[in-house]
């Protein structure tokens, strides 16, 4: 494996881990609310959640950067490379799942619990789930469309801009790419639900209020879903980019008859390709911003509630 890529991946992973840890542990205070039963217990739980998030978020870019170097050359290399983000996402979820299993069990003789049912739906902020479902739906829809419209080889798109000219361009995400990518997307969604279930089922944090315990779970859930929506959104951007480039390339053709060069354009494919090339970076930017927003919001939400303390001084 290329040493430069290895060092780059390690550096990026360390940077991301540090950023997540710093953001997660930033000592600002939130609005005054319910006072934690035990600030020390809340702080320990917050640090535990931050550590799990930092390790998981370090694994995500490290896997995404290192795995392409491990893909052997060959006819299946393109498909394998296309699945790298999903594999990195699964590694991220695996670390998060292991982290959720490391929460300490209740200790002491007096123990408390809330008499309410928690589900995976309760621990993930709605907007992050909407983002993930939106990217997943758009990705599956795009893969379905490209799978149907691809040429017989499944790796190029074939067009006929003019009765005299046929064109083909690739790489185009036809069935050989679309089927594994769609399967990986579905697998990611199922794995995400499994990890959220672990977040909901982990032991209640001893020494904190029911509301703070629920908040800590939502913070963990937000960090998990934010990472997966980044993976799926990034994959969607890459698929749109490849699709747009192939469509635009296949939509344009030039041919010469008796020394006269004629350029022909298939307008629908050209417009679709241009639209895909515009939407791709917008999707990439949006998914990145959503991930950062989720991380910052969750770090703020995880801050312990503080009580207002009034100090009275007497003049001596």
């Amino acid at each position: 494996m290329n040493l430069t890529v290895l060092l780059l991946a390690l550096a990026v992973a360390a940077l991301v881990a540090c950023l997540v840890a710093v953001v997660a542990a930033r000592a600002t205070t939130s609005a005054v609310g319910e006072v934690a039963v035990s600030p020390a217990a809340h702080d320990r739980a917050r640090r535990h959640a931050a550590t799990v998030a930092a390790v998981a978020w370090a694994v995500l870019p490290a896997a995404a950067l290192l795995l392409p170097g491990a893909v052997p050359d060959g006819p299946g290399a393109g498909v394998a490379l296309g699945c790298v983000p999903a594999v990195a996402g699964l590694a991220f979820l695996l670390v998060a799942a292991v982290g959720e299993r490391t929460w300490p069990a209740p200790r002491g003789t007096v123990r408390g619990a809330a008499l309410s049912r928690r589900t995976a739906r309760d621990v993930a902020p709605r907007w992050t789930v909407v983002a993930l479902l939106t990217w997943s739906g758009l990705l599956l829809g795009t893969l379905l469309a490209t799978g149907v419209t691809a040429g017989p080889d499944g790796r190029t798109v074939a067009l006929q801009p003019d009765p005299l000219v046929s064109t083909a361009a690739g790489p185009y995400p036809g069935a050989p790419y679309a089927v594994p990518l769609a399967a990986a997307t579905v697998l990611l969604a199922l794995a995400t639900r499994g990890v959220l279930h672990l977040v909901a089922a982990r032991p209640a944090v001893a020494g904190v209020s029911t509301d703070d315990d629920a908040l800590l779970r939502r913070v963990s859930g937000a960090r998990v879903v934010a990472g997966v929506q980044l993976v799926v959104g990034g994959t969607l951007a890459a698929v749109l980019l490849a699709t747009g480039r192939a469509l635009r390339s296949a939509a344009h053709a030039t041919y010469g008859v008796d020394g006269v060069q004629t350029e022909v354009v298939q307008p629908v494919a050209d417009a679709l390709g241009a639209a895909a090339l515009v939407v791709a970076p917008a999707v990439a930017l949006t998914t990145l911003l959503l991930a950062l927003t989720a991380l910052v919001r969750s770090s703020r939400a995880a801050q312990p509630h503080v009580a207002v303390r009034l100090e009275y001084r007497t003049r001596g």
């Binding site: 069990a105 209740p106 200790r107 003789t109 007096v110 123990r111 408390g112 619990a113 809330a114 008499l115 309410s116 049912r117 928690r118 909901a200 089922a201 982990r202 032991p203 209640a204 209020s209 029911t210 509301d211």
Partner: protein, 121 residues
């Protein structure tokens, strides 16, 4: 509104399942748990409290026998539809009376006769 909480003391002389049972009954009687409210799963509550699932299962079984909760396949354990606060205390007392009558060796008819007698006073 925050969900009602329960607390158990492992060092108490009262069995943990009994502590769970009485606190659920108290929450229903006080109206903090209403008919149809879903209780946590046995496994989730056992995990939160760090006790054996069998302990929670026994408490839920006793609550079901007393008519405080019902268990359905799809929704899990929920507060019984007729577990209004006014009737819960009476149900609990009836269940306690049946236990005491059985412990005393009374037949069902003898136990019912005692209740009829008490109602005439």
């Amino acid at each position: 509104m925050s969900a009602p909480r329960i607390e158990v003391d492992l060092a108490s002389g009262v069995p943990v399942y009994e502590q769970l049972r009485t606190q659920v009954v108290a929450h229903v009687a006080a109206g903090r748990l209403r008919p149809g409210d879903r209780l946590p799963t046995i496994r989730a509550l056992a995990t939160d409290l760090g006790v054996a699932p069998g302990t929670v299962a026994r408490a839920f079984r006793e609550l079901e026998l007393a008519g405080v909760v019902v268990t359905r396949r799809r929704t899990g354990t929920v507060v019984a539809p007729d577990a209004a606060p006014a009737t819960v205390d009476a149900r609990e007392a009836a269940a306690a009376y049946v236990r005491a009558a059985r412990a005393a060796g009374l037949t069902p008819d003898e136990a019912v006769d005692l209740v009829r007698g008490a109602l005439l006073t």
